[in-house]
Symmetry: C2
Subunit: 437 residues, 2 copies
């Protein structure tokens, strides 16, 4: 069984936890039985592994997300990297070509595509298996999951089935409706379109040829930026006559806003927080080390991270996007394949960051044109390579690197250091990478 | 004219801006005409200087407050340092002895005592002059300011005057009453006791002899810790028969809670903040560099500093104290006589801080037993002295100091540096000071 997880974009609606480089699906906010927290990505991947042990899982993701995926899921998951964002049709064609040409999946094998971040239980993943089996049968070219609506939502598209059977032909798609229309659809048996569907691999690659001229994955990858932005629903699903929908009535939540996300939280607070007893329906997600004290609030979400602080009425929080668009700020925290960094201080001609390298990992070997750097190791052990010279380091060791000097650090254990960048033009783009000599 | 300003204690009720080492009167939150912000201390001192140009001003303050006072008011103001906190009677006796024995004030001269942090206008300071003149006349031993009440407050003590004249004999004092009693007092012409009074210097020193055996300021200072904790009202004012009250009907506000403080703010936001248009009566005081976004809130105060984040209904904010008492945290920001520091990162065996030295200032020459330190200069110019060796420093220079090594830095211009402290037992108390060699 082949499962493709579509990893969506930046998701400013969960600011300050999500931002241009950290998508909401990577935020560790969901409490596990052992008390630790996992991200939506980790939860979904764990659930897949528990239900469909042998499934081959491939994530279609942007370049910026690769580090977070490797960090959170390890190396065994496949990643089809999108060179840039081009909507769902190009993304699904690219990952389909990746499955055929890189992973060697046969064109007759079924593939199930679903978003990476639904908040669901195990029955959902059992359903994915049934979708896959149904697609394999070949009764239809495309088999969709139709989610039994729980309220007349204006946020989702609707699928109109031919009849009320568990598997039915699809008559029609409806765009996000107004509430009265949604009520009408539901009375007539419509289902939510949650973006989950299965097909035999060859089908999508054939459909792709109608719009894109390419022979294999590598050619498609290299011309990806030139492709038209178009959704899979519009380019394929809505044009297809041989199309079925399977009814799913289990739990399905889209944790796309603070309102829905806080509903899925097991506790009112993640991180340091005190709520006094006159607070009601207040949720706090605090990624900073600062204590948060909330008093006398109702129906409010508070979230603090290195990017900023949100305090919002829960209903109002769904209107967050234009305000966040107006906040232009340096990236203050980032997960990397080797660990993470956090900006601690920004001055005109200096930038101070805390770097954490995971055990056994290393930075790229690199140099900067326009800045000097000073590292002070504060914990852990490893070694540096500076202009080809290797040197062991331990807490208290200081490494100074002038502009132009090539450098990296390799962590034997988890290793933390304070990096001071100094220069008149400090920019994240000022970085040349080299192979290790 | 001698004015004594009593500088009160820690004031956790304005957490996270005030804390154990920063009292509320030093928070720069009041907007001036030129757009910059001043603290309550700066505002009061500026107002005194504008009304009573030649007044001699002495501040009775704790040791921990001396740096902030020097930083905010400069060197011309007198400071009577209390070795520890012993309530208002010992504090007023100590500053009175300081005036006589250190500043050489004659025993017949009048002295006016008032709190350092009332939010008042110039008429209040004109009133201080009249109090002083009245005390000098000698009609009474003690002349109080009685503030015309604007509502039946349960937070203040009341003064019951003999009659309704502008200057009247005091019949009685009343402790903070319940509301109905306060209403009754006000109907009968009672006035608020704002802790403002005048006396001839010799009077208080005579009264002091009844309770404390001392000959001069230095003896009193050295035995200060052994003195009984007792208020001036209880020890003196309530025992005195020759006592008058002068009526004051101008603006007088005590900015002791978030509720009253936000009423005195000229704008809704100090620091980085966005309020959407569904917010009403929301105030933000943000000392961090993080943007704050507030949506759909009503009657709420938000404050963020290096110590923590408060989000509170304004009414509820007056109940803050027990919650803040429960937050035990490292001091994250401090003003020093030479500048300031901010804690940026805390690990088990390291602490990283940003140090800002004001132009022309220097740290004490000192060493640490149990920690090494690394300085990276990020801006400004000056020189270090390390174990007696002097060396000029500029941005990018790194200074490493092992435990035991004596060191200081002198700033020619404003100078900023990142200090990494390394050791198994990092403590603010681990500091030995030395004279410069």
């Amino acid at each position: 069984m082949n499962i493709v997880l579509l990893s969506g974009g930046s998701g400013k609606r969960l600011w300050p936890l999500s931002n241009d480089i950290r998508s909401k699906q990577f935020i560790k906010i969901l409490k596990q039985k052992d008390g630790s927290y996992e991200s939506m990505v980790q939860r979904v991947y764990r659930q897949i592994r528990s239900v469909n042990k042998d499934a081959s899982v491939t994530i279609a993701a942007s370049r910026a997300q690769v580090s977070s995926i490797r960090n959170q899921l390890g190396g065994s998951v496949g990643i089809s990297v999108e060179p840039c964002r081009r909507d769902t049709f190009p993304a699904i064609v690219l990952v389909s070509a990746y499955l055929r040409d890189v992973q060697g999946v046969d064109s007759n094998e079924p593939v199930v595509v679903c978003p990476i971040d639904p908040f669901v239980e195990e029955d959902y993943f059992q359903m994915l298996k049934r979708l896959s089996d149904q697609a394999e049968k070949g009764e239809a070219n495309l088999v969709l999951m139709g989610i039994a609506p729980t309220y007349p939502s204006e946020k989702y598209g609707y699928i109109i089935p031919e009849d009320a059977k568990e598997i039915s032909r699809v008559l029609e798609f409806k765009e996000k409706p107004v509430k009265t229309a949604a009520e009408e659809y539901i009375r007539n048996g419509a289902l939510w379109n949650g973006g989950v569907f299965a097909y035999r691999l060859g089908y999508v690659l054939e459909q792709a040829q109608k719009r894109i001229d390419f022979t294999d994955y590598h050619e498609l990858f290299s011309k990806y930026e030139t492709l038209e932005k178009i959704s899979f629903d519009y380019a394929v699903a809505e044009q297809e006559d041989q199309i079925q929908v399977m009814r799913f009535a289990g739990q399905w939540k889209d944790l796309g806003t603070w309102n829905t996300l806080t509903e899925a939280m097991e506790e009112n607070c993640v991180g340091k927080a005190i709520l006094n007893d006159t607070c009601s329906n207040v949720h706090v997600v605090n990624e900073t080390g600062l204590p948060i004290l909330a008093m006398g609030l109702h129906d409010v979400v508070i979230s603090a991270s290195a990017e900023g602080i949100l305090v919002s009425d829960k209903e109002q929080s769904s209107y967050i996007k234009p305000f966040v668009d107006g906040i232009t700020q340096q990236v203050m925290f980032a997960e990397k394949s080797w660990g993470s960094f956090r900006v601690m201080d920004v001055e005109e001609e200096s930038l101070t960051i805390k770097v954490t390298l995971n055990s056994g990992h290393r930075m790229n070997y690199h140099s900067h044109k326009n800045r000097d750097e000073v590292w002070t190791v504060i914990s852990g052990r490893g070694y540096t390579i500076v202009d080809g010279m290797q040197q062991e380091v331990a807490p208290g060791d200081v490494i100074t690197m002038e502009a132009g000097c090539r450098h990296t650090i390799v962590a034997w254990t988890e290793l933390k250091l304070i990096e001071v960048q100094l220069g008149k033009e400090i920019s994240a783009d000022d970085k040349q990478k080299y192979p290790l000599e």
